[in-house]
């Protein structure tokens, strides 16, 4: 008992020090919600991972090629891929996010019908690919061609918007860790997307979450797939560099 005491006394000091550090939204959650995420037999996001796995191996398009036809041995070949997105896309000479890359691959390489943003198919494939990188650190590409997008993302993140005239940074940097109604304001690190949000009662993308924030401050959201979102995603990934991926995360 006596030996444990100094450790207990130190605990508050450790807490205040770590408050300055980067924290996944996971840390803010109630124990029940954390348990739902960490137990694969209870994490509803795993339903989408399973669906994605099935789609991954399903032939599509005129040549009846599946994702797995090219990307064989998925557990190895796709490990770490999600951690590197958004990345530079040679074809469009622009940054592209993971969902964009999957949709592009499906259309141009498989010749299959396009998958819309936030469709069950694209979310499932994104969840499956994301899940292959679970536990790996977010590793944005050093590619200097991404720098402009990251800068644009930073500018969008810090720009006030909407009728409430609030920027992302005002909540998620200046007031992170404080409470807004019953919720702790998270630091907005994109560690678990696509994720199962209890509020949505379904799986959703980071772009859906960004849109939710924008309508929340009464701003007009950008259209799904807009370059502005990809820029914010690229900035957030650089800001969260080194943090572990959790896909599919669960959030309140």
């Amino acid at each position: 008992m006596k030996r444990a005491l100094p450790i207990l006394l130190l605990a508050p000091l450790c807490l205040s020090a770590s408050a300055q550090e980067r924290r996944s939204g996971f840390e803010n959650m109630a124990r029940d919600t954390q348990a739902m995420q960490t137990d694969d037999t209870a994490n509803p996001g795993m339903l989408w991972v399973l669906e994605g796995q099935s789609l991954w191996h399903q032939p599509a398009g005129p040549a009846a090629q599946s994702c797995a036809s090219c990307h064989q041995n998925t557990e190895v070949s796709m490990r770490g891929v999600a951690a590197r997105y958004p990345a530079w896309d040679e074809a469009s000479a622009a940054p592209i996010d993971l969902a964009g890359r999957i949709a592009q691959c499906r259309e141009t390489r498989q010749g299959a019908p396009p998958l819309a943003r936030e469709s069950q198919g694209l979310l499932s494939l994104s969840a499956y690919v994301g899940n292959q990188s679970r536990g790996l650190p977010i590793a944005p590409p050093a590619d200097p061609r991404m720098d402009a997008a990251r800068e644009q993302g930073r500018a969008l993140y810090t720009a006030r918007r909407g009728q409430l005239d609030l920027s992302c940074a005002q909540c998620h940097d200046d007031n992170a860790g404080r409470r807004l109604a019953g919720s702790t304001i998270p630091q907005a690190h994109p560690t678990g997307y696509p994720l199962y949000r209890l509020e949505w009662q379904t799986l959703g993308s980071l772009q859906r979450r960004l849109r939710g924030c924008m309508t929340g401050v009464r701003a007009e959201p950008f259209a799904y797939g807009a370059s502005e979102y990809v820029a914010i995603e690229a900035f957030l990934a650089s800001r969260a560099q080194g943090m572990a991926l959790e896909t599919p995360a669960v959030r309140p």
Partner: protein, 145 residues
């Protein structure tokens, strides 16, 4: 400078439900009586496990365990869960055979607001036992309207 008041404007009302469709303590009592066919319900033997402070009422982990040997002579026939303030008082009823091995159930439920939950178990000897708990559902700030 941002104030809490200003940020709260961003939060649309949570779970808009027509007042008339709400359950009530009376409706819950009625639903419980339908389950017990009017038998007396005693407190005990049932343990409900749910977080006393819920961060989102859309998906709330709940488990119920009843103290029973689950033998052919002495087992739990059914467990039902009721609430006071959802649109309907009934949440779930499960029926068990001794071959379930344990009188245990875990699921995720919806809670429209802070309220009292009641779990009732029917034993093979015809007796009814219960546990109740008060749950606080916090107001989420960033709901998608």
């Amino acid at each position: 400078m941002i104030t809490t008041r200003r940020l709260l404007l961003a939060a649309p009302a949570v779970l808009l439900l027509p007042q008339a469709s709400r359950a009530s303590p009376e409706a819950m009592t009625e639903a419980v009586q339908a389950f017990t066919r009017g038998a007396t319900v005693r407190s005990g033997r049932v343990a409900m496990d749910i977080s006393p402070l819920v961060e989102n009422g859309n998906t709330v982990p709940l488990s119920v365990i009843v103290d029973s040997p689950m033998t052919a002579e002495n087992y739990v026939r059914a467990i039902a869960v009721f609430n006071q303030r959802n649109p309907q008082p009934h949440v779930i009823t499960v029926r068990l055979s001794p071959r379930a091995g344990r009188a245990i159930l875990a699921t995720n439920i919806r809670l429209a607001t802070s309220q009292v939950l009641l779990a009732v178990a029917e034993l093979s000897d015809g007796s009814f036992w219960s546990d109740s708990t008060q749950v606080v559902v916090t107001l989420a700030a960033c709901v998608e309207g």
